[in-house]
Amino acid sequence: MLEQHLAALPIILPLIAAPLTLLLGRSILSWGFATFVSGCASVVAWQLLLAALSNGALSYAVGGWPPPWGIELRIDAANAFVLLAVTTISTLVLIYSKDSIQKEIEAHKHSLYFTAHLLCLAGLSGILVTGDAFNLFVFLEISSLATYTLVSLASDRRCLTSAFRYLVMGTIGATFILIGVGLLYMKTGTLNMLDLANRIAPYESSRTINTGLAFVMVGVSIKLALFPLHMWLPPAYTHAPSAVTAFLASTATKVAVYVMIRFIFTIFGVEHVFHEMNIDLILMALAIVAIFKCSYMATVQSNVKTVLAYSSVAQIGYMILGISLVSVTGLMAGLIHIFNHALMKGALFMAVGAVFYRVGSVDIKAFRGLGKQMPLTMAAFTIAGLSIIGVPLTVGFVSKWYLVTAALEQNQWILAALVLGGSLLAVVYIGRIIEAAYFQDLSDTLDPNDIKEVPLLMLAPMWTLVIANIYFGIDTSITTEAATSASEWLFQNHNLQEVSP
């Protein structure tokens, strides 16, 4: 029975589990239950990816109403690939959070934390799985509200202003997307993505549809923190609880990048967006500025979480750069970097959370001498950091390799050089932290006997991600196959009726 409902399960499981988690109340029970459900969702996501790679696409008509009258869930290689990353990271972060939140979230709020995490997961999975533009907005609302809640849960009071800022910006972004979808509906009378695509195509440069495109692009750009609309991100990532930052940094913005890809490639069409409206030029310019400006900002911060937050904005620049190349290889590089960056940033923020767990601060001064005191945590940080830089044998190298290949395919030598130049800045901001950890002595205020390794439940998920960083850096067959077929799939045109439910 579960086989036929596979496409709906990534949404239904966390959606039903969230209120149950609230009812469970006691922290340990709600933790176990939430982790179990998230784990089930990642198994489902893996099955979906295999099915999408062998069959092309799966369609699921919710309520038994055929699209476009009802809401369709639609799995293809592109969303199954991102879904696998999101659900896996969610599970690992939940395992990690059991100990991590003890120091960062007040005890009576723990079950609220797990509930909000599951709601966020349900929302993100919904955005990925749905084939309906308005349904996407509904799930965007769920994930956004849950995200604001998660950010505001930290005991550090500064998280409240960050969460408020995030809420204001996020709401503007969501409203813009809604206005855009509304304008499209006005011209087409449909909300199903493939149906929208078919009915938008006959219009030649309609002002209403072009404005719709503009609103959607700006709205999604706020959500994915594209420079210069990224100002909400660094404070939110800095002041949120570490487990939350690890989860959001590796999932929320990535899902927004997916939304941008979906709107460009599936709904509006490459021809319209890139060849008529020339949005690729705008995206490319913004991506390059993001890479350099925000990598530079990362080198001058003293709070390590802020360093990594700015680094995230820069890394999003690489994804957008891949999209803006308008080629199968470029899009593939963007997609594979979504997956790979989730692995790197997840591990990095988990390591930073581990430092906070023991030292109580994430300032770069707090990292001094930790190489000796917390060898496993700092080794994890170092390997994931090398991956951000793009050192061979890590996933970061794979991403950069395909990005440079895509640039060289079009003889864009300057672009390829810029990608490599961005890595040099990453050497600086990661290097500063590693230097403090390994070549400086523990600060005098700390007792060396207090600063020891963190509990196993924090180390295990962190190292799982680190090993994944190396494994997928050496054996690239799985990720490249998934990303390539997703990219090829997105470049083809599809009709609504081609897949039988």
């Binding site: 029975m1 409902h5 709906a8 239904i12 959606l15 039903i16 969230a18 209120p19 149950l20 609230l22 009812l23 699921y60 008509a61 919710v62 309520g63 038994g64 109403w65 476009p68 009258w69 009802g70 809401i71 009576h108 709020k109 609220l112 934390y113 509930t115 909000a116 709601l119 349900a122 919904g126 308005f134 349904n135 509904v138 799930f139 609302e141 769920i142 509200l145 849950a146 604001y148 809640t149 505001s152 849960l153 409240l160 206005i179 304008l183 509906y185 006005m186 011209k187 087409t188 009378g189 449909t190 009915r199 309609s206 002002r207 209403t208 549809i209 404005t211 719709g212 503009a214 609103f215």
Partner: protein, 326 residues
């Protein structure tokens, strides 16, 4: 005539919005927001969208006004001086407005029957839904059945909002007699009027809840109206007594239960061999199944919305009372 009314209403809407921008007295701003919502509700009525108008009136003018007043009680009623430069925001707003006007240039003619929105999916809703779903109110058919997954999502949005508010504000720990002055006990007229009117509001909420299949209404509006009855009770008789009637903990259970009831219908239809939320499988006769399904999911929506609205009010009000005690 309809056009003239629309124009007049839209002009009033614009005036209200302008007044909101320039007023510094936030109490008056909240009242103007209420007026704004009622004006929008009237426009929706004029567009024959009575379900939307009903929601706008009960949520926009009703419950949000109460919640905003609750916020004012915590923060004070005058706007702070804004020191930021307003050049950039003004530019952004102007560009956005210009883009929206630009979009209208190729807009289909207003209200024309040949427009895409009337020609593509809508005809099936109008022609087939009486046979397929069997409800006289087609809006409910679309909302609860054809696009029932969206409505489940919206219910979860409401639930998420409650999680957010509870985690930020929490509830006051219940200690007897720590707030001697809660409610309006000395106002005898208010107490008597409240006692008479509260049962009627609840009765009306139940009518809206279960009549949503036939006329305007449904779980969202009913939940809000029922919550309004309990909010009135809490305002007049004080929070401790309201907690004794429905405790915050119980409201959390109710909010969860509503979502679970809705999703449970989906799971049950899956166990009967249908897709998620396929109400046709709920009974031997598909139309009867649709009817049961919509009735139950609307109930789930109503329970969650009621519990969430009241929870949010509780959370605000216990903050107000806490700050009064200190």
């Amino acid at each position: 005539m309809a056009e003239f009314i629309n124009l007049a209403l839209l002009a009033m809407l614009a005036l209200t919005a302008l007044r909101v921008i320039f007023l510094k007295d936030l109490f008056a701003v909240v009242m103007l927001f209420g007026i704004y919502s009622f004006l929008s509700a009237l426009i929706f009525v004029n567009l024959d969208a009575v379900d939307v108008a009903f929601t706008e009136a009960s949520v926009g003018a009703g419950i949000s006004t109460v919640l905003m007043l609750g916020t004012l009680a915590l923060t004070g009623r005058t706007e702070k001086e804004n020191k930021h430069s307003s050049v950039l925001p003004l530019l952004v707003v102007t560009v956005t407005g210009a883009a929206l006007i630009y979009a209208t240039l190729d807009m289909p003619p207003f209200g024309h029957p040949d427009n895409p929105i009337h020609q593509h999916v809508a005809p099936r809703y109008i022609e087939e839904s009486p046979k397929e779903v069997g409800l006289p109110n087609m809006v409910t058919s679309v909302l609860a059945s054809y696009r029932g997954f969206d409505t489940l999502g919206e219910t979860v949005v409401v639930f998420s909002a409650a999680i957010g508010v509870i985690s930020l504000l929490g509830f006051r720990r219940r200690e007897e007699n720590d707030t001697p002055k809660s409610g309006l006990k000395e106002h005898h007229v208010l107490r008597v009027v409240a006692k008479i009117i509260i049962p009627l509001i609840i009765l009306f909420a139940l009518y809206v809840q279960f009549h949503g299949d036939f006329g305007p209404g449904g779980g969202f509006q009913a939940g809000v109206i029922a919550a309004a009855a309990f909010i009135l009770y809490a305002l007049v008789f004080g929070l401790p007594l309201a907690f004794a009637v429905i405790s915050p903990k119980f409201l959390q259970v109710m909010a969860s239960f509503g979502v679970l009831l809705y999703a449970g219908v989906g799971l049950y239809s899956m166990s009967q061999g249908g897709q998620f939320l396929d109400y046709n499988k709920l009974a031997a006769d598909p139309v009867a199944g649709q009817h049961y399904g919509i009735l139950i999911i609307e109930l789930g929506v109503g329970i969650t919305v009621f519990a969430v609205m009241l929870s949010i009010f509780y959370a605000f009000d216990s903050q107000v009372e806490r700050s009064n005690v200190q």
